[in-house]
């Protein structure tokens, strides 16, 4: 099946989200604010139908594309043994992160934030890392719905996100914020209740649901914003996580880009209230987040888009041979600093394991 492709793929960096809110960071950023691409040919795998759809607007012959597809072999395994240097650096050590959580709790008690997402940047030196095979390896071993692979300048970005930010389908807007995490070794059904009945984890999600309602309401019809399936759960990477569906109807004179820019960056990765929380984050985190906590998106037209929150995301800098990845945790008044550190490391675990740390 062939059709014209007019899809735009790209990302916006978290740093751009700061600029959108008139915040100037003094830290050095390694990323552009965003990067958008259009491709001559786009392959779309329809999982439900078991079909591969080829969108091609260029001069490439269908036969040529078909040949390339049929001759494509299995993805290469990611071989750890080929990498010898294993230096791990953290932007915040365990002690520094725990101290950051304590400071955040003080900001919460003072009323400057209700919830704040505090993250760590991890760096591993890996000369000649095959980042693409790392990406496919992660996809096979730790599947999640919003994986993205993207080259931008010297950076090879791999996002293993489970989180949708905003989808626009016609006039229908959907956001699915994730908050509340429970790590397990062996899954059993009682874990879901442990998570959904935790007042702390429930409050984390509820705050972000109110924040997302707000953020989409700016471009949605009055009275159209509603919450559905509050405290739904799913399992990813040995974690049970909670999410909600927030729906709205896009105003007829607004586009998905209006919605994206007004709601960006996603509330689940900033905290609440958003601007004040972002200002505090900028003080507590020594690094810039760059692509982390930004968004990847596919835009079809003014009213059709899907996008992710770029969490569980890393990038390989081909100039320096360093692989960077990030993980964070939402801090609320009931947070225990050491547990939040453990949760952050649990979210980084798949990268740490695969990279042999």
């Amino acid at each position: 099946m062939l059709s014209d492709s007019d899809l735009t793929f790209g990302f916006l960096s978290y740093t751009y989200g700061m600029k959108l809110r008139d915040m100037i960071t003094e830290k050095r950023t390694e990323f552009p604010y965003g990067h958008l691409k259009k491709y001559m040919t786009v392959l779309e795998y329809d999982r439900a139908a078991g079909e591969l759809v080829v969108h091609s607007g260029g001069d490439q012959l269908p036969e040529e594309i078909q040949r390339a597809i049929s001759s494509a072999g299995a993805t290469a395994d990611f071989l750890m043994s080929s990498h010898s240097k294993r230096v791990l650096a953290q932007s915040l050590s365990r002690e520094a992160y725990i101290d950051g959580v304590r400071r955040t709790l003080e900001h919460i008690r003072e009323g400057y934030t209700y919830q704040l997402n505090l993250s760590i940047k991890f760096t591993i030196e890996r000369e000649s890392l095959n980042a693409l095979s790392l990406f496919t390896h992660l996809y096979k071993t730790y599947p999640a719905p919003f994986y993205a692979w993207f080259r931008s300048g010297q950076h090879q970005i791999l996002s293993t996100s489970p989180e949708r930010f905003l989808r626009v389908d016609g006039g229908r807007v959907l956001s699915q914020p994730i908050k509340g995490t429970l790590r397990f070794e062996q899954y059993d059904e009682s874990l879901v209740r442990v998570l959904t009945e935790s007042p702390k984890e429930s409050a984390e999600l509820s705050m972000i649901v109110d924040l997302i309602r707000n953020d989409i309401s700016l471009n949605c019809e009055y009275g159209s914003v509603r919450v559905d399936g509050h405290q739904s759960t799913f399992v990813v990477d040995n974690l049970v996580q909670m999410y909600s569906n927030v729906f709205g109807s896009l105003k007829s004179d607004r586009t998905c880009v209006d919605l994206l820019l007004d709601a960006f960056p996603g509330g689940s990765v900033t905290g609440c209230p958003k601007k004040k929380s972002m200002q505090i984050i900028d003080k507590l985190e020594p690094n810039t987040r760059d692509i982390y906590c930004g968004s990847f998106f596919v835009i079809k037209d003014r009213k059709h888009m899907d996008s992710s929150i770029a969490i569980r995301t890393g990038y390989y800098d081909t100039n320096t041979g360093a692989f960077h990845f990030f993980a964070g945790s939402g801090i609320v008044v009931d947070s225990d600093p050491e547990r939040e550190y453990d949760e952050t490391v649990a979210k980084a675990e798949k990268f740490l394991k695969v990279l042999g740390q």
Binding site: Y112, Y114, M207, G223, V227, P273
Partner: protein, 196 residues
């Protein structure tokens, strides 16, 4: 009814705007706090002071608004600003609450409401009257004894406050006792709330 919402850089102001539209049936103007001095208050029938980060003393520009005579509804920080302006005190709330529900008695009924606050009214100004408290005695709603000013500590605009529209309708009924017929949709919601 023409309303203006002053946004204290909060992240729930859009929710408040949507809720207010349900009650008054017209689109309010939303203005950031930093542009408060550009608003001609004489043009408005209602000024809503939003929630937001920090403490009342960081928002000194509300003095003029609170003395202007325009009817005022304050939410969360907005209520704390009203209280401090008239001589009350704000302090840290022991065991502060964010993103959780509580029960309050209001207008003869029990309501579930969403709370987001680190601070509370430690001392209520003499000219204000607390009209709702939670189980621990924390002030949850207040009114000015003689002027058209009302405040809620909780968040009617949260999805965790099922009867949110009731509180906006009720505030407007208090501020405009003779104009309650102008909020037909709100009254419908209110009746639903009262049937429970």
């Amino acid at each position: 009814m023409k309303a203006v919402i002053i946004d204290n850089d909060d992240s729930f102001t859009g929710n408040l705007e949507h809720l207010l539209v349900e009650s008054i049936g017209s689109r309010p103007l939303v203005v950031p706090y930093s542009y408060l001095d550009t608003v001609n208050l004489d043009d408005y029938d209602l000024a809503v002071i939003s929630a937001g980060p920090g403490k009342p003393s960081e928002y000194p520009d509300y003095a003029a608004l609170l003395e202007s005579g325009v009817p005022v509804l304050g939410i969360c920080l907005g209520m704390q600003i009203i209280n401090e302006h008239f001589g009350g005190e704000t302090a840290r709330l022991p065991d502060c609450v964010h993103g959780k529900t509580d029960k309050v008695e209001y207008d003869g009924h029990t309501f579930t409401v969403a709370r987001y606050h680190s601070l509370y009214l430690r001392r209520v100004a003499d000219c204000l009257e607390v009209v709702a408290v939670n189980g621990a005695g924390v002030p949850m709603a207040l009114r000015h004894k003689t002027r058209k000013i009302i405040g809620y500590q909780f968040h009617p605009e949260s999805f965790m406050t099922p009867e949110g529209a009731y509180f906006v309708d009720h505030a407007i009924s208090f501020l405009y006792p003779n104009r309650s017929h102008e909020v037909p949709r709100g009254r419908r919601v209110a009746r639903k709330a009262l049937r429970r």
